[in-house]
């Protein structure tokens, strides 16, 4: 592994962090949209 493995691990961790962050935003947005839709129906 060595240096190459270390750089790969850093890159992978950064990507997984971004990925988890995007998924969180996606879920939060869906919740907000559902609340908005329910609000419209009232």
């Amino acid at each position: 592994m060595g240096t190459l493995g270390f750089v790969m691990a850093v890159t992978l961790i950064i990507w997984l962090g971004i990925f988890a962050y995007l998924l969180t935003i996606d879920r939060a947005l869906r919740r907000l949209e559902r609340a908005e839709q329910e609000n419209d129906e009232l």
């Binding site: 190459l4 493995g5 750089v7 790969m8 890159t11 992978l12 990507w15 997984l16 990925f19 995007l22 998924l23 935003i25 996606d26 947005l29 907000l32 949209e33 908005e36 839709q37 419209d40 129906e41």
Partner: protein, 238 residues
């Protein structure tokens, strides 16, 4: 729910539903992170042991996308000018430009890291580097223009005209200028047979697909957020 004709039209805008393709994006780019270091071999004709070439799997798709995203913004801007009552198209054009700006910044940073490792200097005012700085300014000027106008109708019209016109210098800067001047940019070294072997393609092609899917995902998220904010603003002012 009673829908207005406007919201009916907006609902018909194309979008990719579901979560599956988002997980697939995560998998593809995780594969690129791994494959860029352990599937692709080091490059020939590069500094040191040739490991510097591995940044290609991130830099090239992002740099090409920073132009493709501009074309996406152009299409939305054009559609908005054809149907000025559709302000959602203007907002989508703005969202694409925001993400294009982000991709352009990332392309500049990754290019600069490559320059530092390959040529020993992070910035050389090479023709490719100069053109991407002007491209960044094109994006920044657009965002400044949007931020400076409050009236959404006027903003939509001016922003769309800007995008339609600025595609000419953008195309020249990305595709023409670096090819008609001497450049340090390793376009010719990259396409040597040794550097375009199967292991190299096995990472680069998924990288193109993965980053494109990432753009679509980011674009949808930002567009949804902007629409939600707009709906709430309209409800508050009504």
């Amino acid at each position: 729910m009673a829908q207005t004709p406007q919201s009916n039209r907006e609902a018909s805008s194309p979008s990719i539903q579901g979560l599956g393709w988002k997980y697939l994006t995560g998998l593809i780019l995780a594969y690129v992170c791994y494959g860029g270091f352990f599937i692709a071999k080091s490059g020939v004709g590069f500094a040191g042991d040739g490991n510097v070439v591995r940044i290609v799997f991130f830099h090239v798709p992002i740099a090409i996308l920073s132009y493709v995203v501009y074309v996406v913004a152009w299409v939305y801007a054009y559609k908005h000018l054809r149907t000025p009552q559709r302000l959602d198209l203007d907002r989508k054009s703005g969202v694409a430009m925001e993400i294009g700006f982000l991709f352009c910044i990332l392309a500049t940073i990754t290019g600069s890291i490559f320059a530092g490792a390959q040529w020993g200097n992070y910035w050389n005012w090479d023709s490719r580097e100069t053109s991407i700085v002007i491209m960044l300014l094109l994006y920044a000027a657009y965002l400044a223009l949007r931020g400076a106008i409050e009236d959404p109708v006027k903003r939509g019209k001016l922003a769309a005209v800007y995008v339609l016109i600025a595609i000419v210098p953008a195309t020249f800067l990305i595709w023409v200028a670096p090819r008609i001047t001497d450049s340090l940019h390793p376009g010719q070294v990259i396409i040597r047979p040794k550097n375009t072997s199967l292991d190299y393609k096995m990472v680069l092609y998924p990288a193109f697909i993965g980053f494109t899917m990432l753009f679509i995902w980011m674009f949808q998220l930002r567009a949804r957020l902007v629409e939600l904010t707009e709906r709430r603003r309209i409800r508050r002012t009504a």
